[in-house]
């Protein structure tokens, strides 16, 4: 019987992979459902096994079965891993994704699975923490905090109960690496969490998954049941979020698991000392935990050997939005933004010029093409007024209205604010109003008005536009003031980082805010 591989990833299914798989089954093939390899322009991808090798075809429609099976289909890709998109990658974390059946324990073990856990359990907890420290692994969820330091704090904490919490509430638009890993290689995350449990002395863990990822929830639940014996005495359970973006913030996530509103906690105390149910807790992102099995099985040096500056190892970059070759591209830090967008991504899907890219989700900065020489590195991005965040890159062509995107950033913050702190809760609402006035003034004939002071108080508490202040200049001054207040006064990244997209849009694309266009962007 011919063996055929078709992805069961949510993105592939959204493009019709289920129908394609059914058509191959009806034709008498043995269909193995894998995760996605991560290049969506070739999904639904079908790989046909011939003499032990896999020959790819994509995109494939249900009516293409006969042409694919006799090899005459025009979308023949050959060895998928040899395609330029894949050949340039350094796949540490996603090595198995798209290759194996995500819910086949034998497949997982045959591809190097559980070797990291076995290696970890053969050495004392401190040695595991030391390996993670030596690897240089930093949190892959956004802030880039050293993972080993976090684990050390929890290991050193004295308590009867400790917890491992996986933050799988990746809600950033433009990111899908967590979803792909949970759907395509769930045992990898489970193994990483079990290693963390051994390292810090925790025997219980939670995977908190956002409800917008129903496929990931189902796959993780099944995988946890299947691996319960393998990871014992460590035990895991899935918790499902309920549509609140702010629960991706670690302290809000902990409150949510505890059955409360997902509101941000003021720090200190750090979750490492007083986290879930008040106990010492390791809380890491999916990608951080999924990087750990590689570090333990291949060695910290192998991981640290790749990277740039203090950003070690690989980053699964997600090319999204209006991009020709969108998908997941795992590579060592240091690659430039331009190489990613224009080289690997191939520019826009619409064929129009790239005008802006947003890096790091809805709280990330917008960059113009003049800044495309920026290397992918936590420090370099911070210096350029942005953040890597979850490494999502959303590409926009020249039809984008950046004032509209700035307004959307404020609107998103107001919809998703947990409400605990005033700068975020009220500031975002005022921000939408200010943006509305800026857009209205821009679209009308701009009239010169004098600059006004007292922006801060006005920004927070005045919703009625002062007739004399409705001109562009006072409004943009007000916007900057408001962003300043949100940045320095908010409890967490939602309010604190919303100024990144807003101000970067204003700074790099002033013409969309009715101000004169920059004469010539200086080289960075």
């Amino acid at each position: 019987m011919t063996r055929v591989f078709v992805s069961r990833d949510m993105a592939s299914v959204a493009l019709g992979a289920d129908e394609v798989a059914q058509a191959f089954e009806a034709a008498g093939c043995e269909v193995i459902r894998t995760g996605s390899r991560g290049l969506f322009s070739i999904e639904p991808l079908v790989e046909v096994e011939q003499n032990g090798a896999r020959v790819g075809f994509g995109p494939v429609e249900p009516g293409d079965v006969a042409a694919v099976l006799d090899g005459s289909h025009a979308a023949r890709l050959g060895d998928v891993s040899a395609l330029p998109f894949f050949a340039g990658q350094q796949r540490f974390t996603f090595a198995r994704c798209g290759v194996i059946d995500p819910l086949c324990p034998e497949d997982y073990a045959a591809h190097g699975g559980w070797r990291g856990l076995d290696a970890a359990r053969a050495i004392p907890p401190q040695a595991v923490v030391d390996a993670v420290k030596a690897s240089g692994l930093r949190g892959r969820g956004g802030a880039g905090f050293p993972t080993g330091i976090k684990w050390q704090t929890v290991l050193d904490a004295v308590s009867d109960a400790k917890f491992i919490v996986c933050n799988a509430d990746e809600g950033d638009s433009g990111t899908f690496a967590d979803r792909m890993l949970m759907e395509g290689d769930p045992f990898c995350l489970i193994e990483g969490m079990a290693i963390a449990g051994h390292a810090v002395g925790a025997d219980h863990g939670y995977v908190y998954i956002r409800s917008e990822y129903p496929f990931a929830i189902a796959t993780m639940r099944e995988a946890i049941t299947m691996s319960a014996e393998r990871i014992a005495p460590f035990a895991l359970e899935v918790r499902v979020g309920a549509g609140a973006y702010v629960c991706g913030e670690e302290t809000a996530l902990l409150d949510s698991i505890e059955g409360k509103r997902g509101q941000v906690r003021a720090k200190p105390p750090l979750p490492a000392l007083a986290g879930l149910f008040g106990q010492p807790t390791v809380i890491n992102n999916v990608l951080s935990l999924a990087a750990v099995p590689f570090i333990l099985s291949e060695g910290a040096e192998a991981y640290a050997a790749v990277g740039f500056g203090r950003s070690r190892g690989t980053m699964p970059v997600q090319l999204a939005g209006n991009v020709k070759h969108g998908g997941l591209y795992e590579i060592g830090f240091g690659i430039t933004l331009g190489e990613l967008v224009n080289g690997i991504g191939g520019g826009t899907a619409s064929g129009r010029p790239v005008r802006a890219v947003q890096v790091g989700g809805p709280l990330g900065a917008y960059f113009p093409p003049s800044m495309f020489n920026l290397p992918f590195d936590y420090e370099a991005f911070a210096q350029a007024g942005g953040l890597i965040g979850h490494a999502g890159i959303t590409v926009f062509d020249d039809s984008v209205d950046m004032a509209h995107m700035a307004r959307f950033a404020m609107e998103f913050c107001s919809v998703e604010s947990c409400g605990k702190c005033t700068p975020c809760r009220i500031g975002s609402t005022r921000g939408v109003e200010v943006m509305d006035r800026i857009i209205a003034a821009r679209d009308a004939q701009p009239v010169a008005t004098e600059r006004v002071g007292g922006g801060l108080a006005k920004a927070l508490y005045s919703c009625a536009p002062d007739r004399n202040d409705s001109g562009l200049e006072p409004q943009t001054a007000l916007l900057r003031d408001l962003c300043d207040t949100m940045k320095y006064g908010s409890l967490c990244a939602l309010g604190g980082f919303t100024p990144y997209p807003v101000l970067s849009a204003l700074d790099h694309f002033p013409e969309d805010f009715g101000a004169p266009a920059p004469v010539k962007e200086a080289a960075a």
Binding site: A11, G321, M405
Partner: protein
């Protein structure tokens, strides 16, 4: 009385569930998810029953139900269309599709059509960001929504 019967029913369901899954506070979100799955929404009369079952105040439960976008306090339409409003879908023409969808379906974003046929809801990212604009139609993901795809969705939820 119809209302009392609904309350009795909810109370019984909640009691059954908590006997199996426990009564600690951290069971609240799983309980709400389950209840919504069973009944379709978390109605107000269920709130005191939940509060009793988990030894919480009504305000506690009300606060949680109203905090999370997922929990409904009224029944949804027969079909639920969730349309992504986030940046990646916007970069691929999502805003135009959103306008088109509200017009074609005859219902505003976040609302249920009067005839109860369809609920249209915003969602902020389904993680399908390179193939937008995206939607979940009765839980089924649909990518690259253009005029033709939207037409198919309209037909499907009108049936």
């Amino acid at each position: 009385m119809k209302q009392d019967k609904a309350v009795d029913e909810a109370t019984r369901l909640i009691e059954d569930w908590t006997r199996v899954h426990g009564r600690t506070r951290d069971r609240l979100l799983p309980l709400l998810h389950w209840l919504q799955e069973e009944i379709g929404y978390v109605d107000d009369p269920a709130v005191p029953a939940i509060a009793r079952a988990l030894n919480l105040s009504r305000a506690d439960v009300h606060g949680v139900v109203t905090f999370y976008h997922d929990f409904r306090r009224a029944p949804a339409g027969r079909h639920v269309v969730k349309l992504c409003r986030a940046e990646s879908c916007q970069a691929r023409g999502g805003a135009a599709m959103e306008a088109e969808a509200t017009a074609r379906l005859g219902v505003a974003m976040g609302e249920t059509r009067r005839d109860g046929q369809v609920t249209l809801e915003p969602v902020y990212c389904l993680g399908l960001c390179a193939i937008g604009p995206n939607a979940l139609v009765d839980g089924r993901p649909i990518a690259r929504i253009d005029a033709a795809a939207l037409e198919r969705i309209v037909q499907e939820v009108s049936a």
